[in-house]
């Protein structure tokens, strides 16, 4: 008995609710959706018609493109006609498109368009396509609203701890590197590395600057002119072509297998002993040598500043301290028979004029033999730095080497490195470095396509000092 009453009361409530303003907000959109839903099938007359409409749309776009091209070609034709009154050879493509336009009805059918476009699809001559591309390139370059710059970033964060007295376990922000390039033209290219890095700097063993202060360095900055594979001329600040590592790895830990560079190739402001950067001109290229794959590099540059008086900046960026220029010659081979192998040597000569002595002649000889493949690398380099005191028969030879081997297993890459540098106590330029050698072992894990996590243990033997154990955990990335 109660059921009808319930039903009738519910019906009454429902009627009230339907007529209320609140319900209208819900019901109206719902009805609208139903209406749309019901009309949708009506808009599907058949696949063929839909395809035809789509085809027509595409073809109309194509017509627009062709019209634009016709306008461009006509403009070119007028220019050519103005330059010469002789009968111009004309542009077959333009004529073709002209004739195409004239054959098109006001509202062309898809079939007519297809036929017409198919007949118009005759290739332009190579010279025309080349010219067209050059014009396109030029118009893009002339468009000041477009930038020619390409930027890629690199960065890292490291947690480092060691047993050296006075050191603390710290999280360290690594170099934030903006790798900026620009294809200025087909033969000219600009390349730079703008690096933001935390201090302090350690130059020739002396620490300067505040520990947590970030500074900006232009690490590489050069123009490259490359007319062919045999000559590439670079002018600006480059990494000196001493050995292999310095030209293969720059300011990005993500590219490197290890968390740090070998001590031998440390940057000048991080206590390095080589003139890693130099400002000048470099010529490099292939030497026609068949399967031997010989390459050369010749550099003339300012060279480095002498250590004393201590310089704020060890690279002679703007003013050289003497007229003598540093010269570097390098030769290396990449034989075809052994994939990934590179062997070579380099000789660097410069003159240093520290106030504490009459002058020092610097000769750096380097040899390397490396195998670099996607899943395997074995790097071996040896360097001898010779400092001869001018006017004296005395010379100081500083030998150094490192060997590094690694192998990729899926996302993991275990590696091992042994490095050695031995500087005499009485060495005139960097006696504070002394003897240091020892192994490093670690593993790199490619977390993601552009993110790598590295864990590394180092042990460093020092002359007449306790050895140093150190652990590093590094997150390197590119973006």
């Amino acid at each position: 008995m109660q059921i009808p009453s319930l039903v009738s009361s519910d019906r009454f409530r429902l009627l009230n609710w339907i007529t209320s303003r609140r319900s209208a907000r819900i019901i109206l959109p719902f009805l609208l959706m139903l209406l749309c839903g019901s009309t949708l099938p009506a808009q599907e007359p058949g696949d063929e018609t839909a395809i035809d409409k789509h085809t027509v749309q595409l073809l109309m776009q194509r017509i627009d493109q062709l019209e634009a091209r016709v306008r461009q070609l006509e403009a070119d034709k007028q220019e050519a006609g103005a330059a010469s009154t002789a009968t111009a050879p004309g542009f077959p493509v333009a004529r073709r498109v002209d004739s195409l336009e004239s054959t098109l009805p006001v509202q062309p059918s898809p079939d007519t368009l297809k036929q017409a476009l198919a007949s118009a699809r005759i290739p332009a001559s190579p010279a025309q396509s080349e010219r067209s591309q050059q014009q396109k390139d030029m118009s893009e370059r002339m468009d000041v609203s477009k930038t020619l710059l390409r930027i890629r970033g690199f960065g890292d964060l490291t947690l480092h701890g060691d047993t050296h007295k006075g050191d603390t376990t710290s999280f360290s922000l690594g170099q934030l590197n903006l790798f900026v390039t620009s294809d200025i033209s087909e033969r000219f290219k600009f390349l730079s590395e703008i690096v933001f890095e935390g201090g302090p700097d350690t130059i020739y063993g002396v620490t300067r600057g505040q520990a947590n202060l970030f500074t900006t360095d232009i690490e590489r900055y050069f123009m490259q002119y490359s007319p062919n594979d045999y000559v590439t001329i670079s002018a600006g600040r480059v990494h000196t072509a001493i050995g292999f590592y310095n030209t293969a790895y720059h300011h990005s830990t993500w590219f490197q297998t290890t968390t740090d560079r070998p001590f031998l190739f440390n940057f000048e402001d991080r206590g390095g002993i080589l003139p890693v950067h130099t400002v000048g001109v470099s010529v490099s290229g292939l030497i026609p040598s068949g399967r031997l794959g010989l390459h050369y590099i010749a550099e003339v540059a300012n060279g480095r500043e002498s250590r004393a008086p201590l310089q704020e900046e060890p690279v002679a960026n703007v003013v050289d301290e003497e007229n003598h220029k540093g010269i570097n010659l390098a030769l290396f081979a990449r034989p075809e028979a052994f994939r990934g192998l590179q062997v070579g040597f380099s000789v660097y000569r410069d003159g240093l004029e520290p106030p504490s002595s009459r002058g020092v002649e610097e000769t750096i000889m380097a040899v390397h033999a490396v195998i670099t493949r996607p899943t395997f690398e074995w790097l071996n380099e040896g360097v001898v730095i010779r400092h001869s005191l001018i006017g004296q028969s005395k010379a100081y030879n500083t030998p150094g080497f490192y060997t590094q081997v690694s192998r990729q297993y899926g996302l993991f890459r275990p590696y091992f490195r042994y490095q050695y540098v031995n500087v005499a106590k009485t060495e005139p330029i960097f006696p504070d470095v002394g003897l240091r050698h020892g192994p490093s072992a670690g593993i790199r894990y490619d977390v993601d396509e552009f993110v790598a996590l590295k864990f590394q243990y180092d042990y460093t033997f020092l002359r007449q000092q306790p050895g140093i154990d150190s652990l590093s955990l590094q997150l390197g990335f590119t973006f």
Partner: protein
């Protein structure tokens, strides 16, 4: 104690890597076995019609794709055209020409651009028509297409003196049969 543990870890890593060395040398990039319902089609290397080069060796082609050569003999800069990663043509080029996997090639290109050895990054295009159009328009372009997708807007270069129509032509792309 810590020192000896460190040295032990170091020694273990060295042994591991030395064991891995001969394995690495033995790895060769064998073509995959054909799956059912598939056949192979020649993969043609194509260049702009203005390019005077008619023949390349596999080593020369590898250098072009890996940035070892950046210019054509006429001085034009080489512009590489790649199909999108994952396409059968891309896989063939990775396996038979570059002899590395996708990650390896990507890292190699990034590294070569970073060192300045590679002058321009490769252009990736999604469709055969896009590849044809790009190669047609860019004088220094080099790309690849299935032989059936090539038309007279581009030029096919021989590989080790063999044209794609030749039976012994090396570059072949695996194609699924149409049902």
């Amino acid at each position: 104690m810590a020192r000896s543990a460190g040295l032990l870890i170091t020694l273990s890593v060295v042994v591991l890597l030395l064991v891995a060395l001969p394995r690495e040398a033995a790895i060769s990039m064998q073509p995959p076995k054909l799956e059912q319902n598939t056949h192979t089609e020649p993969l043609a290397i194509i260049v702009n019609r203005s390019n005077a080069v008619n023949d390349l060796t596999m080593v020369e082609l590898r250098k072009l794709f890996l940035g070892g050569r950046s210019h054509w003999p006429n001085g034009r800069r080489v512009t590489l055209v790649m199909r999108a990663p994952g396409e059968p043509e891309y896989k063939t080029i990775l396996r038979d020409v570059c002899q590395m996997d996708e990650t390896g090639l990507r890292n190699h290109i990034l590294h070569s651009l970073f060192t300045g050895e590679m002058l321009v990054s490769p252009k990736t295009l999604d469709t055969p028509a896009g590849v044809r159009k790009f190669v047609f328009n860019v004088p220094g372009a080099v790309g690849y297409l299935r032989l059936s997708e090539v038309d007279d807007t581009v030029k096919i270069v021989a590989l080790d003196e063999l044209l794609p129509e030749d039976g012994k032509y090396k570059l072949r792309v695996e194609v699924a049969h149409a049902n």
